[in-house]
């Protein structure tokens, strides 16, 4: 996703004044930096305010994404324009702000047929393979339902030589549901609104102009 600071609502005379600013790079750069800092803070606070639905331990997924949103990595400044690039493979999830995201299994590990959806708080942030005691459970018609904690049961049967016991595992607490795909609904609130972004760039512009005037007056 790219965010460009593209135009203004200035009257023609004011446009001429802006056009006289020979190097607009510093001005649009300041606007881009403000937009980036405000976006990073917004994503960080959004993450803190949105704990896991099951109440499990926090993975701080959004906090980690927020730390990747910085001018060093996301800002490109040209002579007359600034472009902020967010999202892409290093920030998966941010695109959810603009539409539903459907996740399919096997994109990271080839051959995986199902996504394992946490069913309990303790399975959140853990991969199913990290538990050593899970067994499959079925949900009728031969369809696999997910993974549950294995409960050991001893079954005894009478034989000609007396009673013989054998252990087997049966599903206990359900830890993960299996799904062939998952669609995470759009949530525009993950990122600032376009109105908030516009406010950020205008605040960045105002601060930059004030800073330059201060420098001319002998400060900074």
């Amino acid at each position: 996703m790219t965010i460009s600071i593209v135009s203004d609502t200035a009257a023609p005379a004011l446009r001429q004044t802006i056009a006289m600013l020979r190097n607009k790079g510093p001005l649009v750069g300041a606007m881009g930096r403000r937009l980036i800092h405000d976006t990073s803070l917004h994503v960080m606070q959004w993450g803190i305010g949105h704990p896991n639905k099951l109440g499990g331990r926090r993975t701080n997924y959004w906090g980690r994404i927020a730390q990747k949103i910085n001018p060093g990595d996301c800002l490109q400044v040209q002579a007359n324009s600034a472009t902020v690039t967010l999202g892409g493979p290093t920030m998966p999830g941010l695109m959810r702000a603009f539409g539903d995201i459907t996740i399919f299994p096997g994109t990271k590990t080839a051959g995986v047929k199902y996504l394992a959806i946490p069913a309990r708080a303790e399975s959140y942030g853990m991969r199913a393979r990290e538990f050593g005691n899970l067994v499959l459970f079925w949900k009728g018609k031969g369809r696999v339902g997910g993974l549950a904690e294995a409960v050991t049961t001893t079954r005894t049967r009478k034989t000609s030589k007396g009673e013989k016991g054998s252990e087997y595992f049966r599903p206990g607490l359900i830890m993960y549901w299996f799904a062939e795909s998952v669609t995470v609904p759009q949530d525009r609130s993950i990122l600032p609104s376009e109105q908030e972004w516009s406010e950020s760039v205008n605040a960045g512009a105002t601060d930059w102009v004030n800073l330059q005037l201060r420098k001319i007056k002998g400060g900074a």
Partner: protein, 306 residues
């Protein structure tokens, strides 16, 4: 192009070590900043595994999306199995590692331990990268100060302790508060300006070139859980981060935004100069008036591409 955090990670040397956390701290922050390590991680292949896991979190590998911590942890557990690591006996034929109970923090490939390694290394590379982009000339001029804020939710924040009777307050361990770590670091750094800001506003704000950041990382107030860095995470399992404070905001709370010097860093340009460009006063004044009156409004255009 590699992200700044990835470049920081790439610049660091692998440091397989039998040293524990306290001994590692004694090596000094310079060595630790430039090394990729984990206490008692003696096996070079295991440290390489950690490096690959960090790369996958920061940048993704083989054109895939970035790994989550859980993805990376699973891969590292596979590395531990491949190397034949056993918490009771260590690495087969390798340098000795103190025996550990499986599943504990001392077990080098336990979930708890790997989470700590990955979380710390992920935050450290991003924190060091922040010292690079945060000290670039324009950034330094427009945002001369940092503010310490909570960026990650944690189960038990510093300043509280879980006891049998419930949560108990430990004010000297908290980041904020009069007895907390920030106050201790301000004392040690002798930063009067940041102290005045803290007293009047309660905000943990200081110039980027203040010694308070290093004092915080060095464990001012006698804290033994810090990492020796002037960037986050200042201590293990910390959820605190620095966010930039604009010159206008800094001045409004009593700070002096002028003449902040660039932090020296082992990773990037350590000498930067604040831009000397001067702009026409009349144009600037017109812009200022137009922005303040609302006659001039900039808009952003968002292009969403998959």
């Amino acid at each position: 192009m590699l992200s700044l955090a990835q470049q920081v990670a790439d610049a660091r040397e692998d440091l397989p070590t039998s040293l524990g956390t306290d001994e590692l701290r004694k090596l000094g922050s310079n060595i630790l900043r430039q090394s990729l390590f984990s206490a008692r991680m003696t096996n070079a292949a295991a440290v390489q595994g950690v490096r690959n896991a960090i790369t996958a979190i920061l940048s993704g590998m083989d054109d895939q999306t970035s790994d989550t911590v859980a993805d990376a942890r699973l891969k590292l557990k596979a590395v531990g199995q491949m190397l034949g690591y056993d918490p009771a006996t260590g690495f087969p034929g390798g340098p000795e590692v103190p025996p550990a109970e499986a599943g504990t923090l001392q077990d080098l490939f336990s979930t708890q331990r790997l989470d700590l390694i990955l979380d710390t290394q992920d935050k450290m590379t991003k924190g060091a990268a922040k010292n690079i982009w945060g000290n670039e000339a324009a950034e330094l001029e427009e945002y001369p100060a940092w503010e310490l804020v909570r960026g990650f939710a944690v189960e038990v924040p510093r300043g509280t302790k879980e006891t049998k009777k419930g949560e108990e307050e430990v004010p000297e361990d908290a980041w904020d508060g009069k007895e907390g770590r920030w106050a201790a670091a301000l004392d040690e750094a002798d930063d009067d300006e940041a102290s005045a800001i803290f007293e009047s506003s309660g905000r943990m704000v200081a110039r980027k070139d203040s010694d308070v950041w290093q004092a915080l990382g060095d464990g001012a107030g006698d804290h033994g859980d810090t990492l020796g860095n002037d960037f986050e995470p200042f201590a293990f399992n910390s959820g605190m981060v620095r966010i930039p404070v604009s010159a206008a905001d800094f001045e409004a709370i009593g700070g002096d935004p002028d003449g902040v010097e660039a932090d020296e860093t082992e990773f990037g340009a350590d000498k930067v100069k604040v831009g000397e460009d001067r702009f026409d006063t009349d144009i600037l004044k017109t812009l200022k008036e137009s922005l303040e009156s609302g006659d001039l409004k900039f808009r952003v255009k968002v292009e969403v591409t998959p």
